[in-house]
């Protein structure tokens, strides 16, 4: 099982779907950002799994995964800063109460 590409890809698909459900269903903006991190991790797992099982990609996959991790760090920084800036104005972290545009 640990020597088949399919097992890792299915694990990554399940993790991505868990993250997608969290992004669609949670009301808290920070919980939505955490779900995005889970989805990014699922994509990274796919990249590393292909790198481990396809010989031509072995080193490239690790390089690409490191790039993805760095970009995810930048995304988390800016996303959380935006959430904190909105929280300072609206006094709530719940996204369905951000309805200024509707009033």
């Amino acid at each position: 099982m640990s020597h088949s590409l399919d097992a890792y890809l299915i694990l990554s698909a399940l993790l991505f779907c868990v993250g997608m459900f969290g992004f669609l269903a949670r009301r808290n903006a920070i919980a939505m950002l955490m779900s995005i991190e889970l989805m990014l991790n699922a994509v990274n797992l796919t990249i590393v799994a292909f790198g481990a099982f396809v010989p031509a990609l072995t080193v490239h996959a690790s390089a690409i995964a490191l790039m993805v991790i760095s970009v995810a760090a930048g995304e988390a920084t800016v996303g959380l800063a935006i959430v904190i800036a909105i929280f300072r104005n609206r006094r709530t972290p719940l996204v369905d109460e951000y309805d200024r545009m509707r009033e």
Partner: protein
């Protein structure tokens, strides 16, 4: 997986050690990810996220990518999780955990996630990967370093500029608007 353990099997179960590790790590990771998504208390969600990231680092080691596992521990567990926990504490309201965690339309999101999982699993099991081999390769760290500083040197520099921009943008967005000094 080290070569000494590759042929050995777990005494009671008859599985190989690699399979056992894979099952334990993936079960831990999926359970922690579900906890992140469904837990009512968002602090516990943040702590479960650390567990999910740690289990994923173990899976990277199992896949023979130790440098990615180290980066996962350093960046995700060390930096991003701490950032998320600080943001949670900065945005906690005094009333404690809210009663309604999910949107009213959460069932539609759940249905979409289940359908997407079914489609992805069907596609993955139905595809015959032509270039994949049965034995996984180990990523040599020195080859990775050479590649990062030869073929990937432009993306590496672009990522460093992106991180600098993210730091500046994060400070600019999160800082308080000070009064400008002039009094009206």
């Amino acid at each position: 997986m080290s070569n000494a353990l590759a042929g050995a099997t777990v005494p009671a179960l008859g599985w190989s050690w690699g399979d056992l590790l894979f099952l334990v790590l993936s079960g831990t990771m999926l359970a922690a990810a579900l906890t992140v998504v469904v837990n009512r208390d968002i602090i516990r969600s943040g702590l479960a996220m650390i567990v999910a990231f740690a289990a994923l680092a173990g899976i990277y080691v199992l896949l023979g990518a130790p440098l990615v596992a180290a980066a996962q521990v350093l960046i995700y567990i060390g930096a991003i999780s701490v950032l998320v926990l600080f943001a949670i504490m900065l945005t906690q309201t005094k009333v404690g955990p809210i009663r309604l965690v999910f949107h009213h339309q959460a069932w539609a999101g759940a249905a979409a996630a289940v359908v997407l999982a079914a489609i992805l699993i069907g596609v993955i099991t139905g595809t015959d990967w032509p270039d994949a081999v049965a034995h996984q390769a180990h990523t040599a760290t020195d080859a990775l370093a050479r590649l990062l500083f030869s073929d990937y040197v432009l993306p590496l520099e672009v990522v460093s500029v992106l991180l600098l921009a993210a730091v500046v943008g994060g400070v600019f967005l999160a800082k308080r608007d000070e009064p400008q000094g002039e009094e009206r």
